[in-house]
């Protein structure tokens, strides 16, 4: 057995809420596991659906996306668009036979350092239980990562992105920003494009 498993987690944090929450956790000296590596973005709305897939393909065992609470986005509705991308990521993981819990999108406001710590601590624990990519899935890790890389490429393709645009438009029209509703829309609009993924 190798030495104690330490999960690799990549986080995409929005500048105004989650990144600030992470800073304020530091200011308050709240301690959490040292597994997270952070990429700062101005808004989770910047999250290209391929980024989390790419992260997993490149070696992450878990991906975290952190934004502002729903309704509190610094850019009004960027986090809702992030939920659309997130739904796609979850759908892809499902298709590829990868534990969906390896990808988490959650919120912490700028003032919520302790909440950020709670989220990251719990997520790190979760990924620790799942083990390195492939273990919980009972699949070959290298193969999964290859499939993820291919999926990331697909997520940068026109077909899938058109589906996301339609899902996003529908979401804005209905004004229903619940995760289930968004997942439903993404399923409706992207399923066909997703069926072409190599698994």
């Amino acid at each position: 057995m190798p030495e104690q498993y330490s999960p690799k987690i990549l986080g995409f944090l929005c500048n105004w809420c989650c990144y600030t929450a992470a800073d304020s956790a530091g200011v308050g000296r709240y301690q959490y596991p040292p597994n997270l590596r952070v990429i700062r973005m101005m808004c989770t709305g910047r999250l290209d659906p391929s980024f989390p897939l790419e992260g997993l393909a490149q070696g992450a065992d878990g991906i975290f996306v952190g934004g502002c609470h729903p309704g509190e986005c610094h850019y009004i509705d960027g986090n809702y668009h992030a939920l659309v991308s997130a739904s796609l990521v979850h759908a892809v993981l499902g298709k590829l036979g990868i534990e969906k819990e390896r990808f988490l999108i959650d919120w912490a406001s700028a003032a919520e350092g302790p909440n950020f710590v709670k989220i990251i601590t719990a997520f790190t624990k979760k990924i620790s239980t799942l083990g390195p990519l492939g273990r919980a899935e009972g699949r070959d890790q290298a193969e999964l990562r290859r499939n993820l890389a291919a999926a990331a490429e697909t997520a940068r393709g026109r077909k899938l992105r058109t589906g996301l645009i339609n899902a996003g438009r529908e979401m804005m029209k209905t004004g229903d920003f619940s995760r289930t509703a968004i997942a439903g829309l993404v399923h409706d609009k992207c399923d066909k494009a997703l069926s072409e993924l190599s698994v």
């Binding site: 690799k8 990549l10 500048n15 990144y19 600030t20 992470a22 800073d23 304020s24 956790a25 530091g26 200011v27 308050g28 000296r29 709240y30 301690q31 959490y32 040292p34 590596r37 952070v38 990429i39 700062r40 973005m41 101005m42 808004c43 709305g45 910047r46 999250l47 290209d48 659906p49 980024f51 790419e54 992260g55 393909a57 490149q58 070696g59 992450a60 509190e72 610094h74 850019y75 009004i76 509705d77 960027g78 668009h81 991308s85 003032a111 710590v117 940068r156 026109r158 992105r161 058109t162 996301l164 645009i165 996003g168 438009r169 804005m172």
Partner: protein, 1023 residues
């Protein structure tokens, strides 16, 4: 003594301002003044600017690292070509009049040439003479040749002439030998300089309650009694103990700490009958940090009243007390004695009259604020009057003006206050100076010139990496030198090093030198957070002739060393990963052109109350057009409901004068019975549609100040409305007005505080109600001294000089009885409308009934619903429906959307004088873009590649700011970004089906490189 004020237009108006005092208020005023187009002479008594804020470990209520948020401002002031900093300097005389003063300044010698000193520290190393380290409250030693603190501005050492062996005994002189730069000047002399200035801003800060007063609580007698300032340094990682809270006597961690409030405040014995206004907050902060340092420690706070009346302060305090499990005891400061087996015995009496005693390990004295040392000398030099406590004398309606025209006062010298209020006043005073000197704007300043940007487009990336120790904040956990060594191995890195404080002024110089020497074209700083420090380093890049966008930070403090304090190995690995990812991204950075956009030189002010009118006047006085919008038929707002201020003047008179001035001002256009219907645009270029009685009016403006105000809370409790004898304090104001006040006939009056406020309906403290109850009590007592008045309160929040009213009321026989939240007074109304109040008397420890002829309810303040306007402006509001400022400490009147500002009750409850100062501040800040004449939006905007764009319009439909438009090019549709409207969120890029859109600095290739660099750790493991 001073010549009569001459007509400023007769003489030439001088476009420069003298700012006295280099604390946060003075520095902020200086920065605001240069933004507004005035040259500043900033004189500071000590060897460096920064003041008390530089010495604080953290700031309440956000617990931000104090120096970390201040240091960028200090460096900015230090490098601003229009701010001349004179240290070790004092104002000794001021002649002339507004617009044309001559300030005589005495500058003591530093004995080290500021211009030559490189800040290397060799002089301190070789200095034989030890002195107390004043910055660290003399808890450790420094040397006669020293720098006040590591990030001091100016970054120059100086010699204490009282201690120096060479200067006193003509021996030693080692520093002169050690100094390679040859900066030591033992023959340096005192200089007296005459400076022509148009206005003066006094910001000398505060003095401290004397040791003699604190000796009554054991200071000096017992080692383990410390002042709050000493405790602050003990908590601080850069302090004398490296951030360990220890007892002085045995260097052990205290297990039981007592915080004693009101030491030298609210204390007539020492002559300070006022409340110092900040100690309640800083004690809570210190208690919270003590808890973080030791989760087991028992913490007790002794309060007379808990005065946390600032915006969001009550909530922060309650959370801190709950989460920190603090014990809060209401008592006068306890007596402190020592006991034989160590520790300190505290004895106190609680409000029920019972006596208690208990042992503690450490006692922290919440030392009050006094007028600054030498206040009398300064007042004499500046020719201004002081009040009875030696603070500057001011007037309610001109809170920032001293008794001498053209001389303004801000910060604690104006009255004890916290950082946000000091910063606010700084902005206000800058605006007032700018108004007075409007005709001389830009006449004394020079334009900051930067070297031309080097074109790096053809160059291979040459990345420099600087890894910061941040004292021991990073270096104490992360192995910083090894991170720097590691950085050298990364692709494109041609230079890497570590430094003690990357943010210090001398490091900026070093960065510029290094960029030149190694021909760097990208810079990575691994230090704290880009949120606070990116602008500082970007300015340095610009000084080195590089585009601002060629910069990336790795956050190895806030998100690494501070959160993995006990895992140095893992933290070091994380820091290396962060540096690798930052370097990978940096290689993909490109220079981004910065667009300059014109500014419409006018302002919109929403709300025609005291705040809105003051803001409008202050902007108009600076020479800019203002459109003032008021929903009601008349200007004036809620201030019209007040019939006297605490000095007995009728504020409605001042208000009527202001209304007349606003209406008559040629630069102000007033729209009454008008509301904002729509807002579009961005800073410098807003278009607002107003609904008026006569249809819509479209206004183009560069900035907007929001002053939509608040209204009194309408009570449902205490049977309000069921008897004419039950009134609100505002009803009572009416009854007290006029020549035959109706309230005169009452025999017994009861007042109940916090009606609605502090958790009933409004979760916050409304700040002004305690003062209003005191004022009205005194008015009643003046009408009829034998009248009985009982005030039922939770905490009497008579902060600052209001404490005088509190004492006066008690002396006049007003009875004050505290009630607790869980046991509120009960009111019953009899058949004939008779009112009985039943309450618990803690001293009798029994319930008491009192028949009241008049029951006055002190109702809170509710903000006008901001939702609609906030949505139009795209700015946030708090849970309590107040507009949320950009930064609670350092940008207290800016809203997060550029070009929008907030003041008055829409910001938070506040008194008239505070409202006026805040409105002046909002007006001052609002004039920054107007005075500059152009804006430069951050170039992190989206960019559409027309080659790839298929014109689908997805980006246009998702853009929250209408910052993307579709245009036709040879019949094909294409998208393009309206740069000034784009805020850089990136939704368009994430959705573009052909990846035709990319974001400045957050490019697809850059983020992909970061992801790949992240993965390299995995790759190494599996190689």
């Amino acid at each position: 003594m001073h010549p009569p004020v001459s007509n400023p237009s007769a003489q030439e108006t001088v476009g420069s301002v003298l700012v006295v005092g280099g604390g946060v208020a003075g520095v902020q005023a200086s920065l605001d003044l240069t933004e507004l187009g005035y040259k500043v002479y900033l004189i500071e008594k000590s060897g460096a600017i920064g003041g008390v804020m530089a010495r604080l470990d953290k700031t309440f209520p956000t617990n931000d690292c104090s120096l970390c948020i201040l240091a960028p401002k200090l460096v900015e002031a230090g490098r601003d070509p229009n701010i001349e900093i004179l240290t070790l300097s004092e104002l000794v005389d001021l002649t002339g009049g507004p617009g044309n003063f001559t300030a005589t300044v005495r500058k003591q010698p530093r004995y080290i040439d500021e211009d030559i000193c490189t800040g290397c520290g060799q002089c301190t190393l070789y200095c034989l003479k030890q002195i107390g380290n004043d910055f660290n409250e003399n808890l450790e030693h420094s040397h006669a040749a020293h720098i006040d603190y590591a990030q001091a501005v100016p970054t120059s050492y100086h010699i204490d002439p009282k201690a120096c062996l060479k200067l006193n005994y003509d021996t030693c002189g080692l520093c002169a030998v050690a100094c390679q730069a040859g900066a030591i000047r033992f023959d340096d002399k005192e200089k007296v300089i005459d400076i022509p200035v148009g206005a003066v801003v006094l910001a000398p800060g505060f003095g401290r309650v004397s040791d003699e007063v604190m000796a009554r609580y054991g200071l000096g007698k017992f080692e383990d009694v410390v002042t709050a300032f000493e405790h602050e340094r003990l908590m601080c990682a850069s302090g004398p103990t490296g951030g360990e809270i220890v007892r002085i006597s045995d260097r052990k961690h205290p297990k039981k700490i007592a915080f004693l409030q009101c030491i030298g405040s609210r204390d007539e014995n020492c002559g300070n009958n006022y409340c110092s206004s900040v100690c309640c907050m800083y004690a809570i902060k210190q208690a919270t940090l003590a808890r973080e340092h030791d989760p087991e420690c028992e913490i007790t706070l002794f309060y007379m009243d808990v005065r946390t009346h600032g915006k969001g302060f009550d909530a922060a305090r309650e959370r801190a007390v709950r989460e920190g499990k603090f014990r809060v005891i209401y008592a006068r400061p306890p007596k402190v004695e020592d006991v034989f087996d160590g520790g300190l015995l505290l004895a106190w009496a609680t409000e029920d009259g019972l006596h208690h005693q208990e042992k503690f390990d450490l006692v922290v004295l919440s030392q009050g604020l006094e007028a600054p040392d030498g206040a009398e000398d300064l007042a004499r030099a500046a020719g201004i009057h002081l009040n009875g406590y030696q603070f500057a004398q001011i007037d309610t309606y001109t809170p920032l003006a001293t008794s001498r025209p053209g001389v303004y006062v801000i910060g604690a010298f104006q009255g004890p206050k916290d950082i946000p209020d000091s910063v606010t006043q700084a902005g206000g005073a800058a605006a007032l100076c700018a108004g007075r000197l409007a005709q001389a704007r830009g006449t004394a300043t020079i334009k900051a010139s930067f070297p031309e940007e080097r074109d790096i487009s053809g160059e291979e990336p040459r990345i420099g990496v600087f890894v910061c120790h941040c004292g021991i904040n990073i270096g104490g956990v992360v192995k910083v030198p090894s991170v720097a060594e590691y950085a050298k191995t990364l692709p494109h890195v041609v230079y890497a090093t570590d430094n003690l404080y990357s943010c210090s002024q001398d490091t900026q110089r070093l960065l510029v030198e290094t960029i030149h020497k190694h021909r760097l074209n990208r810079l990575v700083v691994a230090a704290c957070t880009p949120r606070t420090h990116e602008p500082l380093f970007q300015a340095t890049l610009r000084e080195a002739g590089l585009n601002r966008s060629l910069f990336e930070m790795a956050n190895i403090r806030d998100q690494c060393s501070w959160v993995h304090m006990h895992e140095p190995e893992a933290a070091t690995e994380k820091a290396k990963d962060a540096v690798r990812m930052a370097v990978a991204k940096a290689a993909h950075l490109t220079a981004l052109a910065e667009q300059q956009l014109p500014v419409t030189p006018s302002a919109l002010v929403v709300g025609g109350g005291l705040a809105g009118m003051t803001a409008a006047m202050t902007i108009a006085e600076q020479g800019f057009e203002v459109t003032l919008v008021e929903r009601e038929k008349e200007l004036g707002g809620r201030a019209k409901l007040l019939t006297a201020d605490r000095f007995g003047f009728d504020p409605r008179k001042a208000l009527a004068e202001l209304i007349a001035k606003v209406k008559a001002h040629p630069k102000i256009t007033v729209h009454t019975q008008a509301t904002v219907a729509a807002v579009s645009g961005y800073v410098g270029n807003f278009t607002t549609t107003l609904d008026t009685g006569n249809g819509s009016v479209v206004v183009n403006h560069g900035v907007a100040a929001i002053a939509t105000g608040g209204r009194p809370y309408e009570p449902k409790q205490y049977h309000y409305g069921e008897s004419p004898k039950i009134v609100t304090q505002l009803d009572l104001e009416k009854k007290l007005a006029g020549s035959r006040p109706r309230a005169k006939n009452a025999k017994q009056v009861v007042m109940i505080q916090c009606v609605g406020s502090r958790g009933e309906d409004l979760s916050y403290c409304s700040r002004v109600c305690c003062g209003q109850a005191l004022k009205n009590s005194l008015r009643l007592k003046k009408l009829r001294p034998e009248l009985g008045i009982t005030v039922l309160y939770r905490d009497m929040r008579a902060y600052g000089f209001l404490e005088d009213d509190y004492r006066a009321a008690r002396e006049a026989g007003v009875i004050f009885i505290r009630y607790h939240e869980e046991k509120k007074p009960e009111v019953s109304v009899g058949k004939s409308g008779a009112v009985t109040v039943r309450y618990h008397d803690p001293l009798l420890s029994d319930d008491v009934e009192l028949a009241a002829d008049l029951l006055a309810l002190s109702v809170g303040i509710v903000p006008e619903d901001p939702t609609k306007l906030a949505r139009m402006l795209k700015v946030p509001v708090t849970a309590d429906k107040f507009f949320l400022e950009a930064h609670v400490k350092l940008q207290p009147v800016d809203l997060p959307v550029d070009g929008t500002y907030i003041c008055g009750l829409a910001h938070s409850p506040r008194s008239m004088d505070e409202t006026i100062a805040q409105a002046q501040a909002a007006a001052g800040r609002a004039c920054h873009p107007l005075a500059r004449g152009s804006i430069t939006p951050a170039p992190i905007v989206s960019k559409v590649d027309p080659e790839l764009c298929i014109g689908c319009g997805a980006c246009e439909s998702f853009c929250p700011y209408k910052a993307i438009e579709i245009y036709k090019e040879d019949k094909t549709r294409k998208a393009r970004t309206l740069t000034a409207s784009c805020k850089g969120c990136g939704v368009c890029a994430a959705r573009c089906p052909t990846l035709a859109i990319d974001m400045g600095r957050f490019t697809l290739s850059g983020i992909m490189a970061q992801i790949q660099a992240f993965g390299e750790a995995y790759g190494e493991q599996h190689a």
